[in-house]
């Protein structure tokens, strides 16, 4: 009995052993062609990232390990500790991302890769020269220059390893909001003024409820911040000289100017100002029209402080405006008779386009301006070098127009001896936070003004003096911005109608929004690019180009696209979403092995 059992068992075993393929069987078949490796020891790469980028880090880790690296993860819970680790140099590669909010390629490279850029950690003369060259060129010319830049930056030197370009997605509650009035722009922050309810009678009774992840606001002074906590808020609180359309064309629509013209030579720019925007302030918990018009003196004041690093302590945006040379009000009509750049029309013709009342007189005092009787204000701006992309920077929230009178009356401190504990600068978030320090001194030139905030939400009211009677007059009286940090919680809030709009639906959750009958998913391209930034100091990757290239060619963007269910696009550099350079990064394990062996051999 026992013997026969044993025989049967042995027979079963033999059959099973024949059917089952083991791991080494499978991998042997796969790797038949690869040469035996010369050096088996693994190169350790330390990957730095944030908890929110855990998924990207896992993909990169997996791809590097499969290509023979060993990966050490350094995951930091928030942006603050991430930056601290980055500044301490505790990484080989850092998972980084960049969004070009101005929609022009110069912004996508200048701060990041130029030797003296705000966020740059590298120094390469050839790259500097290419960035400068491209900045003076027109779109037709710069495509080739940026292609060369990518070749140098990514393929020749491997300073960065690109991962992907994201889409933008926005979920809208279509039972409450009129979907056609909700914009989703590629670069600029969402404009609140056109948004309308389906039931228009609710405009004055119900608030529009939207969401933002960060509740600690850097500053409500437009030049003192350039991050996710204030970009949308300041965009809607301050009007600018120009705006970007949904696909990144610079226009005057919905801005402080009726029209703008570029003079021949691409270094003088003219803006014809409107007379129907007044500053709003908060008095007794309500938004009131201050009666003070937004005029040329405010524009000149705002531009001059934007380009001057010493105009305020903690100036975060002056490098965006360093091209501006002079800003002045034009009073001599004959100055407008010059030709426009690349056109046979005069500057004046360009500025008067579509106007009912043509320019009869130019005035320097904003109170005298009266467009109905032909009295206009014109502001002229000159740039240091010919630089057509300057207009994109003027559409950025940091170029928002503030009140000269109000800001000068609040910022009475001396910049050099500024004391955080004593001096209260204009736009300090404490002045609008509920509590003892509340003292709202904001003067808003835009469609809405922030009334008050707490850790949970911020309340905005419509500016009563903003383009009343035009298409750009804000539709809804009150906007509530909820601070909800986690995207999944935000999605739940959208789905149970707690909020009306969610900008930033996660890629893996598109189907949930699409399958919900009361929601509508808007999608658009975006300028957000994720990439790996190599450390340039005190690491093996800083000195070895071959090691960097080995990492570069380990990155397989097809797999990343697969993970995000096709809701990402390939990218080569931060310029990719803005300029079609035709470059593409192709993963290549053979090249990786070649580079790795070269590196181990000491090259």
């Amino acid at each position: 009995m026992k013997k026969s059992l044993l025989t049967i068992l042995l027979a079963v075993m033999v059959v099973l052993a024949g059917c089952v393929s083991t791991k080494s069987d499978v991998s042997d078949k796969k790797n038949d062609n690869t040469e035996p490796k010369t050096d088996k020891s693994k190169v350790v790469i330390e990957l730095l990232g944030m908890g929110s980028g855990e998924e990207d880090m896992n993909i990169v880790r997996d791809q590097l390990i499969k290509n023979g690296f060993d990966v050490k993860l350094n995951i930091q819970p928030d942006y603050g500790s991430f930056t601290a680790q980055k500044e301490a140099g505790n990484y080989d590669v850092a998972l980084s991302s960049w969004t070009t909010v101005t929609g022009n390629p110069d912004y996508a490279v200048r701060a990041l890769f130029k030797s003296d850029g705000d966020n740059s950690i590298m120094a390469d003369d050839e790259i500097d020269a290419l960035i400068e060259k491209a900045s003076t060129e027109t779109p037709n010319e710069f495509a080739e220059t940026y292609k060369q830049l990518e070749q140098r930056l990514v393929f020749d030197k491997a300073y960065i390893a690109p991962l992907y370009n994201s889409f933008k997605a926005q979920g809208v509650n279509k039972d409450i909001l009129d979907v056609d009035t909700v914009r989703l722009a590629k670069s600029r922050a969402i404009a609140w003024e056109p948004i309308d309810f389906i039931d228009e009678t609710k405009r004055d009774t119900d608030p529009l409820i939207i969401q933002q992840a960060i509740g600690t606001l850097t500053s409500l002074d437009p030049i003192k911040g350039n991050d996710g906590s204030i970009n949308t808020l300041n965009t809607n609180m301050y009007v600018r000289l120009v705006n970007l359309t949904d696909d990144d064309v610079v226009v005057s629509d919905g801005s402080l100017s009726y029209n703008h013209s570029i003079a021949e030579g691409n270094s003088a720019y003219y803006f014809l100002l409107r007379d129907d925007i007044n500053f709003a302030s908060i008095t007794d918990g309500k938004a009131v029209d201050t009666g003070e018009r937004v005029g040329a003196d405010d524009v000149i004041f705002s531009m001059n402080r934007a380009k001057d690093p010493d105009s305020v302590p903690d100036h975060r945006t002056y490098s965006l405006h360093e091209h501006i040379q002079d800003v002045e009000v034009v009073t001599d009509l004959s100055e407008l008779d010059g030709l426009q750049s690349g056109s046979n029309e005069t500057i004046r013709e360009g500025l008067e386009k579509g106007l009912d009342v043509k320019i009869a007189e130019l005035v320097s005092d904003k109170a005298v301006a009266n467009n109905a009787s032909g009295k206009y204000q014109v502001v002229k701006m000159t740039t240091v070098n010919p630089f057509p992309q300057v207009l994109n920077y003027l559409a950025h929230q940091s170029a928002g127009i503030v009140s000269k009178k109000q800001v000068e009356s609040i910022n009475t401190y001396d910049v050099a001896t500024f004391d955080v504990s004593k001096d209260i600068p204009y736009g300090d978030q404490n002045t609008v936070t509920e509590g003892a320090k509340y003292n709202n001194t904001l003067y808003a030139s835009g469609p809405y003004i922030l009334s008050h905030k707490n850790d949970y939400e911020a309340i905005f009211y419509k500016n009563p003096g903003y383009m009343a009677g035009t298409d750009y007059e804000p539709k809804i009286s009150t906007v509530t911005v909820r601070f909800i940090q986690d995207p999944d919680s935000t999605l739940s809030a959208l789905r149970n109608s707690e909020i009306h709009l969610f900008n930033g639906v996660p890629e893996t959750k598109y189907d949930l929004v699409e399958n919900d009958s009361k929601l509508f998913l808007q999608k658009n391209d975006s300028n957000a690019v994720s990439y790996l930034l190599f450390n340039t100091k005190n690491r093996e990757v800083s000195t070895s180009e071959t090691l960097r290239k080995a990492v570069l060619y380990s990155i397989n963007q097809d797999e990343i696209l697969n993970f995000y269910q096709g809701n990402k696009k390939k990218a080569v550099s931060t310029v990719s979403p803005l300029v079609d350079t035709g470059n593409e990064l192709k993963a290549d394990s053979a090249k990786v092995q070649e580079f790795l062996n070269d590196y181990k051999a000491g090259n």
Partner: protein
């Protein structure tokens, strides 16, 4: 009639029979609910056939329960013909229903020695390990050591079947035949697969063969009698040992790469034979991840309990034995530690020193030292008044020897119970910290990590959250049930 009603209450089989059919019925209903696709109104063939099998054995279980009840009410004991029907119920092992199988083994044998119960659960553990491991056969490839490991596991199982038969036949309440020594030694070797039941059986056999101290055997028998009578406690022990054994065997029968390497071609697959629990958002096999996750949960659970037991026990023993001043110094210092919330302390430690398994264990250990010290101190204060301590002192033993040779061994029982109950808490704490992103690295298969990914897919792929959740619940419940059982077994008032 009165005595016969007592017969119902006293009968181990009847209580277990009731417990078994109820649990079995619940499992059957869950399967029935899952065999329909309510959205499409379709019947899922595979789940439905499993349901049918479960239903069949559940009905048979109900019949057995009724027969046991009738026997007990009419003649006061279970007829041997009814006991023989237990052999039929043994076949429910093919459905993997551990409850009915355990009952069947209980029903078959009238005189149940602890060795018999050990042998039964040892065999059950082995069968489950082999069944779990052989699910890997449906994958595209298996680990290199898979075949060799499976042959060894099968060989061990055959040996264990033989042992079960021998144990049932020859081992008595008080003694075992001397020739079983060789079996016992083999059993100790097979315990290397992580099957602690084999270790218990081997130890028990050696005890009965070698020891002439009847009181020791009697004590051993009583404790295990009480634990095995308690269905939930013994099933808890079974699940813990199964997880432990799986953690060891999985090193040879499972491929770790399947649990950590991304497979972008198989993202978010529904459960199938190749992926019994489906795949997660990186295309990793959830089944392998759960199996490898058991290792970390158990390791952290045991280690972060053992460390405070040793440190807290030592400090508590000193505080309990020595005078006011020592007591005060130690206990007040520990009170300071006790005032810091445990999970916050853990979060602070991990935030400061980084997230990895060692730090996790340390972080969880430090916070629970004071509670163990208190338990130990109370016991030591009680035990140190006993006469045998006085006599040891009279014989001139040193303080150190009195504490650690006389008092501590006699104060251990409550510590063991408390430890068992808090391992569950440690398992939950591990998973909670991982869930918050403070535990082990996110790609490492740990139940909290798996649950974290699952929680974001609760709506579209709910199995990603339900399965790790169930695993955590089952392991913690098992520890709690076992703890309860141990408390009852060690409590003299329950005699």
């Amino acid at each position: 009639m009165l005595t016969k009603k007592y017969a119902l209450k006293l009968s181990r089989e009847y209580t277990q029979a009731n417990f078994t059919w109820i649990i079995s019925l619940i499992l059957t209903s869950v399967l029935l609910l899952n065999s329909f696709n309510f959205e499409k109104g379709e019947l899922k063939g595979s789940v439905f056939s499993i349901f049918t099998a479960y239903a069949m054995f559940t009905i048979f279980q109900m019949i057995l329960t009724l027969m046991v009840k009738r026997d007990l009410l009419t003649i006061g004991e279970i007829r041997s013909s009814t006991r023989k029907l237990g052999y039929v119920q043994l076949f429910s092992i093919v459905t993997g229903n551990v409850f009915t199988v355990a009952f069947a083994f209980n029903l078959i044998k009238k005189q149940k020695t602890p060795e018999y119960m050990f042998a039964v659960y040892m065999l059950l553990t082995q069968v489950f390990i082999i069944a779990i491991s052989s699910l890997n056969l449906f994958k595209s490839y298996v680990a290199d050591t898979f075949l060799a490991a499976m042959i060894i596991l099968l060989g061990v199982m055959i040996f264990q079947v033989v042992t079960l038969i021998l144990t049932a036949k020859y081992v008595e309440e008080e003694s075992a035949p001397a020739w079983m020594m060789i079996v016992a030694i083999f059993l100790l070797f097979t315990a290397l697969t992580g099957n602690i039941f084999a270790l218990l059986l081997g130890y028990s056999l050696i005890l009965k063969i070698r020891s002439h101290d009847q009181s020791r055997i009697l004590k051993w028998n009583t404790i295990w009698e009480k634990i095995t009578r308690n269905s939930t406690a013994i099933l808890g022990l079974f699940f813990i040992i199964l997880m432990f054994s799986v953690s060891i065997c999985s090193a040879f029968t499972f491929d770790y790469d399947m649990a950590v390497e991304n497979d972008y071609g198989a993202i978010l697959q529904k459960p199938s034979l190749a992926y019994p629990f489906g795949t997660d958002n990186f295309g990793r096999d959830l089944f392998s991840r759960i199996i490898f996750g058991a290792r970390i949960s158990l390791l952290v659970g045991f280690a972060s309990t053992a460390i405070p037991v040793v440190i807290g026990g030592f400090l508590g023993a000193l505080a309990g034995y020595y005078s006011q001043r020592t007591d005060n110094i130690i206990m007040r210092l520990l009170d300071v530690l006790y005032a810091v919330p445990g999970i916050l302390l853990a979060i602070a430690i991990i935030a400061a020193f980084g997230a990895n398994t060692t730090n996790l264990i340390l972080a969880l250990s430090v916070g629970s030292i004071p509670t163990y010290a208190r338990t130990m101190r109370a016991n030591v204060m009680m035990v140190s008044n006993y006469e045998f301590v006085d006599s040891a002192r009279a014989l001139g033993s040193s303080d150190f020897s009195i504490i650690f040779r006389q008092i501590v061994p006699n104060s251990l029982a409550p510590m063991i119970v408390k430890a068992t109950l808090t391992i569950g808490g440690a398992v939950i704490a591990t998973s909670s910290l991982s869930f918050l992103g403070l535990g082990v690295e996110p790609h490492i298969p740990e139940w909290g990590n798996i649950l974290k990914i699952g929680s974001t897919y609760l709506e579209s792929h709910s199995y990603l959250a339900i399965i790790p959740g169930l695993a955590i619940i089952l392991l913690v419940l098992s520890f709690n049930f076992l703890g309860d059982g141990l408390r009852d077994a060690f409590d003299p008032r329950m005699d």
